[in-house]
């Protein structure tokens, strides 16, 4: 039995919209789990059901062996960091941190000690007597963290806590949150739509789409072993190149063709031996997905020749745009690459990184 269990959780709003369709998830004590997905995918609704802020339509939530499905928030022993931080504006920083402790009937001295302790961790000791209006966004964020830390809850929930910060601050607070998690080992569920955030923070990522879980796994698994077309589309910046193609074999090499008829184009995916069990897919239509960083370029050699249309230098890497199979494909190369617009190149695709998806159920086609 896991520390936190979500059993076929479902949420339908009174207006008939089903935000969460069927969520099954098990989370171990001390894990940092990120719910990731586009807006409207049900991740926030799931978190709010965990918090007790949203009524559960069907299913159950078990925390530490106790069914909390229908308990009000205050009886769940949880803490939460809100998107707007929800640092109460009429209380000083110290009062904000102390209020939940007061509700827990802690004695005054213990409260004062606890406030000092978490303030030190969150580096807000100097602001304890200020009001939130006198603090910057980043400082308010730290107050929210301190307040959540102080209550020592069984479960720590975070609802897009970084989305209101500017880009630079976001990265530093991200590091800070990770550090806190490492020190406290609090079981944490973090909701975001930002994949960089998710990949940086998570022990496990839960990718969600349209009220369902698409995939659960470590950052590496989610990025490299995308089980569904949605995941491969969603993860990665720039996103993976995806094209509907027909597979064919030509002189021992695997070829993907698109367009059909006169304007047919094809892409050489490499030696067929690199794709065990591919025979059954010959002539079939599939979705082909290749990440931009898994494509290399070389001198024109007759295979996969194309010309570069756009060059976007980014300093640490360079993005090239070219026409492949009738679509606009992106190629990501390390460092500053010296390439002219219109230059002819040959594309080199890493056969081990090619991902194929079923056109019907949009699931990954396993080749082994």
């Amino acid at each position: 039995m896991s520390y936190l269990e979500l059993n076929s959780l479902k949420k339908t709003y009174p207006n008939g919209v089903t935000a969460v369709k069927d969520i099954d998830l098990e989370i171990e004590k001390g894990e940092f789990v990120v719910l990731l997905g586009p807006s409207g995918c049900g991740k926030t609704t799931t978190l709010r059901m965990l918090a007790g802020l949203e009524e559960v339509t069907e299913g159950s939530i078990i925390l530490d062996g106790k069914d909390i499905t229908h308990l009000p928030p205050r009886q769940r022993d949880i803490s939460m960091i809100f998107q707007s931080y929800a640092v109460w504006p009429h209380m000083t920083v110290a009062e904000n941190i102390a209020y939940p402790l007061k509700l827990r009937k802690m004695d005054k001295q213990a409260i004062a000690a606890k406030v000092q302790e978490v303030a030190k961790i969150c580096k807000i000791v100097d602001y304890l007597n200020r009001y939130p209006a006198q603090l910057s966004g980043g400082q308010r964020q730290r107050v929210a963290v301190a307040r959540a830390l102080a209550v020592n809850s069984k479960l720590s929930l975070m609802d897009e806590p970084l989305s209101n910060l500017d880009a630079k601050l976001r990265v530093s607070v991200r590091t800070f949150l990770k550090e806190i998690h490492r020190n406290t080992g609090a079981t944490t569920i973090f909701v975001t739509h930002d994949q960089a955030e998710a990949m940086a923070l998570a022990d496990r990522i839960v990718v969600m789409n349209e009220g369902r879980i698409e995939q659960v796994g470590s950052t590496r698994e989610i990025y490299n072993e995308c089980e569904s077309l949605f995941t491969v589309q969603f993860m990665g910046t720039p996103p993976a190149n995806i094209q509907k193609v027909a597979l064919a074999s030509s002189q021992g090499r695997l070829v993907a063709a698109a367009g059909g008829g006169e304007g047919a184009m094809s892409l050489d995916l490499g030696d067929q031996s690199a794709f065990p069990g591919i025979e059954r897919l010959m002539g079939e239509e599939v979705f082909l997905a290749v990440r931009p960083e898994n494509i290399g370029i070389g001198e024109p050699n007759g295979i996969n020749e194309t010309s570069i249309e756009i060059v976007e230098p980014q300093g640490a890497y360079t993005i090239l745009v070219t026409n492949v199979l009738g679509g606009e494909w992106k190629i990501m190369l390390e460092g500053d690459v010296d390439i002219r617009i219109g230059q002819k190149v040959s594309l080199e695709i890493d056969p081990g990184k090619v991902m194929l998806y079923d056109t019907q159920n949009k699931k990954r086609i396993s080749l082994t």
């Binding site: 009174p14 918090a51 007790g52 802020l53 009000p72 928030p73 205050r74 949880i78 803490s79 939460m80 809100f82 998107q83 707007s84 931080y85 929800a86 109460w88 504006p89 009429h90 209020y99 939940p100 509700l103 827990r104 209006a133 307040r147 209550v151 929930l157």
Partner: protein
């Protein structure tokens, strides 16, 4: 903000404000000053407090003063409690909540004279209030209550009920605006961190809403001290004296009495003073509201 493109005082666009300033000088400042002067001079034009002394020696004025205070405080308390409850309820979006909001706003649109008649048609012996009470079995049709025979405190309380019916929507709408601007996460943070619904209301919602609540209440008080029409329409003059009712009485009924004008002037100065004190309180609160900063 704009920097004025053209320089020079005479080309400044603020010159367009001159007509407004003149209008206010003529029709606001001048009459205000003259009414103040009138209230502090005797018939011969010499400075004196005699108007105030005479006024407060009248039983009716003292009653009017007391009634106005009673009415203002009573209606403020009742209307705040009801309006807040209603606003909290309507703020929870439910099916048809917009329709319900629409219905609750209807009384706000009633002109005072229409309110007066609406309630008069209800309060007389054969009126709809008694009819309704009989229809639901709370009253014996053989022995209806004559509400219009109510006097003193009972009459004031009756007027508070009538007033509440009319103005509750306008108080409610201010509070509802406050609640809608209220960041829901403040409340949710309260629940998550262990507060029950009552504690959240008391420790979080009320304190954060305080400026809005005070604003609504002060605006209410400004209107309440000027009550007169419903009192006169339901009970007639002299039955439930209020400050402005006394002014109307002096102007409308005893027009040619020796001190009618002087009395009316003096009472209107008192009313204006009460209103101005309330306004300055309002300004201080709304100033605090801005200083308190954005709460989101």
């Amino acid at each position: 903000m704009h920097v004025s493109r053209r320089t020079g005082f005479f080309k400044s666009p603020t010159w367009f404000l001159v007509p407004v300033v003149i209008y206010y000088a003529a029709f606001w400042i001048r009459p205000t000053i003259s009414v103040i002067i009138e209230s502090f001079t005797d018939k011969a034009g010499a400075f004196s407090f005699s108007n105030y002394v005479r006024l407060f020696s009248q039983e009716a004025i003292r009653t009017a003063f007391l009634n106005t205070v009673l009415f203002t405080v009573g209606s403020a308390i009742i209307q705040f409690v009801l309006a807040f409850a209603l606003a909290l309820w309507l703020n929870k979006k439910f099916r048809f909540s917009n329709l319900v909001l629409f219905i609750t706003l209807i009384p706000m649109a009633f002109p005072p004279a229409a309110v007066g008649i609406l309630w008069k048609t209800g309060l007389y012996r054969f009126g709809w209030i008694n009819s309704f009470l009989c229809a639901i079995g709370l009253m014996n049709p053989a022995n209806p209550v004559d509400w219009m025979s109510f006097r003193n405190l009972n009459a004031v309380m009756l007027l508070i009920v009538v007033d509440t019916w009319t103005v509750l929507p306008s108080v409610m709408i201010i509070l509802l605006a406050g609640l809608q601007n209220f960041n829901k996460e403040f409340e949710e943070a309260g629940w998550v961190f262990g507060a029950n619904k009552f504690q959240t209301l008391k420790d979080i919602v009320f304190p954060i809403m305080k400026p809005t609540i005070i604003t609504a209440m002060i605006l209410r008080m400004i209107a309440a001290v000027q009550v007169w029409l419903i009192a006169v329409m339901i009970f007639g003059y002299n039955v439930v004296p209020f400050l402005v009712e006394r002014i109307a009485y002096n102007v409308d009924v005893i027009t040619f009495a020796k001190y009618a004008r002087k009395d009316a002037y003096t009472i209107s100065v008192i009313v204006a003073a009460i209103v101005l004190i309330s306004v300055s309180m309002y300004l201080r609160v709304s100033g605090d509201k801005q200083k308190g900063g954005e709460t989101t």
